[in-house]
Symmetry: C2
Subunit: 339 residues, 2 copies
DNA sequence: TTGTAAGCGTTATCAA
DNA sequence: TTGATAACGCTTACAA
């Protein structure tokens, strides 16, 4: 039983001895209603704290004014900024938001996505999880002409608008910064290479090495499964033992910090012996010692843009958008590359 | 426009030349339906990927099978675990979840709460924000007999079930551990003292000092506005300058780490000169150097219990629950108190 | 075994 | 200026 105490327009109509349509019109400030009637209705509505039933409204209007978000993680500063950007844009355009966190699980992603196919939301913003390789659930969404926009980790197989970071450029900039810092033996440690974002960051790294005339050394390249702290500290063990590198580009800040911990333990000094650049500009990077040079990720802007594209599509279903919007990253210099 | 491509039972009925009620019954596996009919319906439903309209179902059943969560922050390891606990319990009981993050803003909390009063959710789980002092929005919720359960930061004025941590006990344990470590001049740095949780942690601190026969020194006590890193580093400046303390109980891990940074900068060694205990067991506490002794916060359990109480109330609206469930914290010893 | 019709709460169309 | 009615998609008495 949902709401015992809830008042409907029927109740108000009954008490006032008028019809529900008049009540409805009065509440909508329809100029046709007699001022006295309108006032009486509004007073009673206020007295009873009347609120229009959301479900009935949705059914009537065939729209929920709600957008869904499928996102792999919540405790993640970048995603959190994306969510804020989405929320701010959505709220100021009269939309609500439902967030589903998939915890990077494909199964959860499928369940959550399908749970939103049934008219619960007017459209969907999605960032695919690390473990996703099959996109049928998103295709089903798109096939029903439900507006869908991807952000960050996108699905290329589906023809919908996308908002991404130029990860290639960012990877290139990060590595180039290490080159400029004087590094000549630069390692790469990144997240799951099945993700396009990681392929791009890695691609930028290779391009920068290439341009600088530096050789690519396979033993200095690690693609980790998660991109977290433990992966980071594990990934550089061999390189550290071999004392072979003098620079490191890490695909996430947590990888960077994990790696730094291992290097510090082995007696290496950061940035003197090894300069390190992370990725994402997490706040821990300002707190950690040494503070971490990193690439910014404009999450708020990404969220705003994605929400804008989605709401555009919802409000204008005929004009199909399929563009990809690209945002850019900036280098944030801190101690870990200050020589 | 919500879903152009969406199929309704009407469409199926039309195509099969039968009535909607038969379709509805067939899909519900009603044994009255002739097997052949049932099969035909199911096949067509499958072919068209039919999904029952969520909104229509909600309106019909007067329940949404959705519970709302009002939570101050998302990027917060404790809250994130709470959410997981809630989600797991809710999902396995056939409920969905809507999360509203208030970003510790009272205004946002009011808006978000009121947006859920209108039949969008069958019940609400709430943790009040730091800036909230007026509880009318929650009262309105409760007055409509909408099930409501508070967790962590609760509202005493409202007669609904609550799930809390024994913050008093935890503050006591943390401080006692410092006493046992040999500290005699123990400072307290905590979050906003208008919150009950902080009053309790502070209360536990005072009790432990008292029992140990240690004096309370007003200049060693700071109630911060936010409880974040910057507050932490600011809060201990005077004490550090005076070289007056040898122990610190911080009400959050971020406060602890901010304080440690200031102390380290001033040349103090942790834990040798000052032993530090934090609160919440955030993962940064394992990464930071020195690793941080802290009090655990069983967020997952809290979320599960809160969801359980809420769903109990939803399924059984007559039996009013008003109990408070108390969970307990445990000391996690790490380097910052290892002498 | 199936169909008709009412109802969930709301708004819009038509009549009065 | 107001009221009766249909409709959104679904389920369920009640009838047939």
């Amino acid at each position: 039983m949902m709401k015992k105490g809830s008042v409907t327009i029927k109740d108000i109509a009954l008490e006032l001895g008028i019809s529900v349509s008049t009540v409805s019109r009065a509440l909508a400030d329809n100029p046709l209603v007699k001022p006295a009637t309108r006032q009486a209705v509004k007073e009673l509505a206020k007295k009873y704290n009347y609120r229009p039933n959301f479900t009935a409204l949705s059914l009537r209007n065939n729209r929920t004014r709600t957008i869904g978000i499928i996102i792999p993680q919540l405790v993640h500063e970048f995603f959190s900024m994306v969510i804020r950007g989405i929320e701010d844009f959505a709220y100021s355009n009269g939309y609500n938001v439902i967030i589903s966190s998939t915890h990077e699980s494909y199964e959860r992603e499928v369940i959550d996505t399908k749970a939103l196919i049934n008219g619960r939301v007017d459209g969907l913003l999605a960032c695919v999880s690390k473990s996703t390789t099959n996109y049928d659930h998103f295709k089903e969404f798109a096939e029903r002409n439900l507006p869908l926009v991807f952000f960050d980790c996108i699905c290329d197989e589906i023809d919908s608008p996308k908002v991404v970071l130029d990860d290639f450029e960012a990877g290139y900039q990060a590595t180039q910064h290490l080159v400029e810092t004087g590094c000549t033996q630069i390692a790469y440690v990144g997240g799951p290479i099945n993700l396009q974002i990681n392929q791009d960051r890695f691609g930028g790294y290779k391009k920068a090495l290439n341009e600088a005339g530096l050789a690519l050394n396979e033993s200095w390249i690690k693609h980790c499964e998660t991109g977290d702290y433990d992966d980071g500290s594990e990934s550089v063990r061999d390189m550290v033992a071999a004392r072979s590198i003098d620079g490191l580009f890490a695909g996430t800040d947590m990888l960077a910090i994990g790696a730094i911990k291992t290097m510090k333990k082995a007696g290496l000094q950061i940035p003197k012996d090894v300069a390190v650049v992370g990725f994402s500009n997490w706040s821990i990077g300002t707190i950690y010692e040494p503070s971490l040079t990193t690439m910014s990720q404009p999450g708020y802007e990404m969220g705003q843009k994605a929400a804008e594209l989605l709401i555009q599509q919802i409000d204008n279903p005929d004009k199909k958008l399929t563009d990809t919007f690209t945002l850019h990253s900036e280098l944030i210099q801190r101690e870990s590359t200050q020589r």
